[in-house]
């Protein structure tokens, strides 16, 4: 009937720019990454592809990585297991500290606090700043020298006198005394990385949750209040179940964001090995050691994990029978 709306050539032409970009730069490279991950080769030396089967994956998951030329371990013990462990710790901290904090503030703000929009706008602002800038800024805040803001604050309050020896005692990875090198020890580096993440992204989650809470129908809230529900009950039985889809998005974002995280660690630390993440390990393997097969295998592991967690989290948030609201 309306031939112009079903004309095949038009459909193809409309889709073409998007398809070329999407398939050419996203889908095809991912298939190539998977192919590379079964091989070892060197782009710089332009060596031939050598088929390795699942060997790269076995190496990544079973042990510390060694340099094939010297047969010795790479410096700073590179091991994917550790890196995945670190990103899971970050994911857990984000989910169980950052999100509840965001939710509490969003619940308070959305109930008619004077100046709620101004508060929200300020809390959201760090989201817009480049993570590199934030990493660099916090690197200066953590600086162990005279100028570092954090240590200066601790010294001014006299906290360093008992905190630093306490941290020194709990550090197992090194015999050096802790004098404020927050990014210099395995035990403190990951927490030092989490603080800027919290600082940057708490406002993002808060904004989404706030928007969700504002979407709860007013008559639902009024009915609950007429029934004598306390604020806590309204939050727990009406608002939180209602905004479950948004909470799901927040958890997926927090978890996959932690898995993918690269910029912050890369900018925050001169030596990323103290808080190595899969992506920083991949970067080292690719561009420091020219291990393109191994690096591609990490890329594949990352894609699979991101999808897996997205599916698992969606499953955990599925509607279980009757909805409360």
């Amino acid at each position: 009937m309306k031939r112009t709306f079903t004309y095949k050539l038009n459909i193809v032409l409309f889709l073409l720019p998007a398809l070329i970009l999407f398939v050419g730069i996203l889908i095809a490279p991912i298939i190539m990454s998977a192919y590379y991950s079964f091989h070892e080769f060197n782009l710089v030396a332009n060596t031939d592809m050598e088929y390795k089967g699942l060997e790269n994956y076995r190496i990544l998951f079973s042990s510390m990585l060694t340099n094939p030329n010297t047969g010795k371990l790479y410096a700073n013990s590179m091991y994917l297991g550790d890196a995945l462990g670190h990103s899971l710790v970050l994911a857990a901290l984000s989910t169980f500290i950052q999100l509840p904090l965001a939710l509490i503030i969003a619940l308070k703000l959305s109930k008619g606090i004077r100046g709620e929009r101004a508060y929200l706008s300020i809390f959201f602002m760090p989201v817009l700043i480049s993570t590199v800038i934030i990493g660099r800024l916090w690197m200066n805040i953590y600086d162990p020298g005279q100028a570092g803001l954090l240590n200066a604050g601790l010294r001014a309050l006299g906290i360093d006198k008992w905190l630093f020896p306490a941290i020194t005692n709990s550090i197992k990875s090194s015999k050096l005394p802790f004098t404020g090198q927050w990014t210099g020890f395995r035990e403190t580096a990951l927490i030092a990385a989490f603080i800027p993440i919290l600082w940057q992204y708490v406002g993002y989650h808060m904004l989404l949750m706030y928007a969700g809470i504002k979407g709860v129908p007013a008559d639902l809230l009024e009915a609950a209040q007429l029934d004598g529900c306390t604020e806590g009950q309204v939050n727990r039985f009406i608002i939180i179940p209602y905004i479950k889809p948004i909470l799901k998005v927040c958890v997926i974002f927090a978890v996959t964001g932690s898995l993918k995280s690269f910029d912050l660690i890369y900018a925050l630390m001169k030596d990323t090995s103290r808080a190595e993440l899969p992506s920083t390990l991949m970067y080292k393997l690719l561009f420091l050691h020219q291990r393109y097969g191994l690096g591609s295998a990490i890329a594949v592991v990352l894609i699979v994990l991101c999808f897996l967690f997205a599916v698992l989290i969606s499953f955990a948030f599925r509607d279980k029978g009757a909805k409360v609201a």
Binding site: F14, L15, T131, I133, Q225
Partner: protein, 293 residues
């Protein structure tokens, strides 16, 4: 009823807590701007001998305003640090990516929502795969493709990959906006003798202007702040973007805090100024991006 809560005294405690959080939020930025205007002596502290020959220690000025406003830090960041050039590069790349993303995603969305064909639902799902795929996953193949096409160290080395990774979100947002445009308009234009291209350009595109803002803001922030591709695909200073420039400046000035602070401020302030004027719009873009996803 909800409004009536505004005057409860318990809200004072809430306000105090919120204001503490606001201070925590803003303090690092205040600190960055103040140390960008200080001399190294002021940041690190110094000592001098007075007339009686005694050594006087001056402690570092951590949180106060600068004693002497050292604007030359900015000159140094712009001239030696080349931040001006990187700023222009970042802007040129971001604007091109926005253009490509908006055009490609509007066209695809039109085909996905207004044209009638089998498989458009599947195609939509296919595009949505891009939302979960991490940018690192494509890095080695894209690097090899770019190097074969001799495109490394050009603007294009960043523009096309960024556009590809912004596309899924662009389509997701556009589908929402285009769905709100009444189909009667298409029919009326069709009866007036317009073909699909005319309908798309004359009827749909003008009504999609709000979507341009939303997609544009989202895309802009992604490109403006991206580090990994920008580090690897561009090594020449001529095409370097701001995040990489800042990163590299730290290598040059490990002990000179002033120019580093100036570079951080130069890279940060434009986005914050734009945010002050467009905060509602920008927040709405992020909500649209997440809620529909």
């Amino acid at each position: 009823m909800i409004e009536a809560r505004k005057f409860k005294p318990s809200n004072i405690i809430v306000h105090v807590l919120l204001i503490i959080l606001v201070l925590i939020n803003l303090f690092p930025l205040y600190w960055m701007i103040t140390f960008s205007l200080k001399t190294n002596d002021e940041i690190l502290g110094y000592s001098y001998k007075n007339e009686a020959g005694e050594r006087i220690l001056v402690p570092p000025n951590h949180v106060g305003l600068p004693n002497h406003w050292e604007w030359s830090n900015y000159e140094e960041a712009m001239n030696t640090g080349n931040m001006g050039q990187y700023f222009v590069n970042s802007l040129a790349i971001s604007v091109s990516v926005i253009l490509i993303t908006v055009i490609a995603s509007f066209m695809a969305t039109y085909a996905l929502t207004r044209l009638v064909w089998k498989g458009r639902k599947v195609m939509n799902k296919f595009f949505m795969l891009g939302l979960t795929i991490p940018i690192h996953a494509a890095i080695v193949p894209v690097f090899t493709i770019l190097s074969k096409l001799k495109l490394l160290n050009t603007y294009a080395a960043l523009i096309f990959p960024y556009a590809a990774f912004a596309l899924s979100m662009g389509i997701l947002i556009s589908v929402g906006f285009m769905g709100d445009i009444p189909y009667d308009l298409d029919e009326a234009a069709f009866l007036d003798g317009c073909g699909v291209w005319k309908i798309f350009i004359r009827v749909i595109a003008p009504l999609m202007m709000p979507a341009v803002a939303t997609v544009g803001i989202y895309t802009f922030l992604q490109c403006w702040n991206e580090l990994l591709f920008a580090t690897i695909f561009v090594s020449s200073g001529k095409y370097r973007t701001l995040p990489v420039g800042v990163q590299q400046l730290f290598g040059q000035y490990t002990t000179r805090w002033g120019p580093i602070g100036a570079a951080l401020t130069i890279a940060t302030l434009p986005t914050i100024i734009v945010y002050i004027f467009l905060s509602k719009r920008i927040q709405d873009s992020f909500i649209a991006g997440a809620v529909k996803g």
